[in-house]
Amino acid sequence: MGDAHAYRVIMASRLRSQLAYPTSFAFDVVNQLVYGLIEFIELYAVFHNVDSLAGLGWSQALLVMALSRLAFQTGDLFVGHLDQMPAYLRQGTLETFLIRPLPVLAQVITSDISLRRVSRIVLFGGFTALALARLELTWTPAAVVLLLAALLGGSLITAAMFITAGTAQFWLIEGGEAANAFTYGGAYVAQFPAGVLPVGVRVFYTAVLPVTFIGYLPTVTLLGLADPLVPSWFGWLTLPVGLTFLTLSLAAWQFGVRHYQGGGG
């Protein structure tokens, strides 16, 4: 298809441009690694003082954090820049996308794939490997499938969160930064054992904004942990939940684009 070629050209030019200034790129990579490390330090500092957090030990909690962040960063790589939607709408960037003969969302996604974000994916991949090595679990085919399904499903949930938040901007315009409370706030919730939350709040972050499916629930299933509130097979639902949430968010996005009246340019 000609479309595929167009995306390849767009992507290649975007990727090349990021490497044009090597010093700046190096600082960007350091920046990404710093943010990865401080999340590790935060959890490490908690476990420096206590042996368990909501029933999970250090390696188990580390797996929740690493797995959720790995999935989040992967989703973020593709759609994270949708958090720039308020700027796209204000500056009329979206109009430029609208007049081109390619789907708007696909254009937004390919417009800013950031190579620097790959460094954080690598870092959290390392933390995931560290946690898994410390846990010494028996590698069955089911465990491998569960882990991969969790990563894919978690990335889809993340993507759906950003697309939903981006869609909300069509109506919010100003004050759209409130969406950060759901995207980045949701990612923050996802990196801790869900048991830290009171039941009501936990239901919200499972049934409405399904972030406990990203790291915590797959970990419970993988390690065979007991959680008083959910059956142990719930971790298998991450991928179906991700697919459902993504489908809903795409429908909402389509609705938003169709009803968008323009930025007045």
Binding site: T23, F25, D28, E42, H48, G185, Y188, V189
Partner: protein, 295 residues
Amino acid sequence: MGGAVGQVRQPTALRAFAVLFSAGFRRYATYRRATLAGAFTNTVFGYVRAAVLTTAITGATVGAAVSATATGGGSSAGSGTVAGYTAGQAVTYAWISQGLIASVMLFAWNELALRVRTGDIAVDLARPVDLQWSWLAGDLGRATYLLLPRGGPPVLVGALTTGLLLPHTAWPYLLGGLSTVLAVVVSFAGRFLVNLAAFWLTEVRGLVGAYAGIGAIFGGLLIPLSWFPDWLRVIAWSTPFPAMLQVPVDVLTARVDGATAVRLVVVQLLWATTMLAAGRVMLRLATRKLVVQGG
């Protein structure tokens, strides 16, 4: 004109400070909904942090901390304390730090660097008011405006959901107020230094971001510094970041008092003066390098 200029300079600088302070204040006052959105995000993060710390300390969820706080969270002895924090003190820390974060500005800030990149800095340098002085005035105006609309909601939600353990005497608030002002000045001095790097680098986004990230962890935003292992705590306290958040929160909530509190505020003052001075030196080096194109 000699002597006369020397005599009028002092009141002029002060008046310029007042005008720029009020301009910084009013500039942020125009973004009402953005401020509200930011306060909402701060509140969500405050809640999650309060929940994590509470569970770590008591083994129970944050909902249970309400009763723990109400029935005598003040007693710090026994098993309900981690790294010097009871559950009640930890949630208070989480909420107050979220309340101060916008004013203290521990986030990535690159406004000055953008002016360097576009060349607008040349206009700023040509003005009769000192560059650092005028940006400091504007930043203090910004911080003053943001204190209530950005700080109020998380603190209020904290008081309603988990309860707060706040001192009942005036002294911690007075000294804490001074400490907060100094925290903004130290934070500004640091951001000023980092932004000046734009004179040497084309793009400072990564540098500014990494600086803010290190500030978030060493300033005590993510977790109180006393929770760190010793070696990491030593590193954190040898940076200026604790003076930007951990210190004002500790003084305001009376976690430190008496001579210790005064000593911490004096250390803040030292950081502020040293870093402002370093900023002036760096600005001099930078302007020597500045070449304004066209004209």
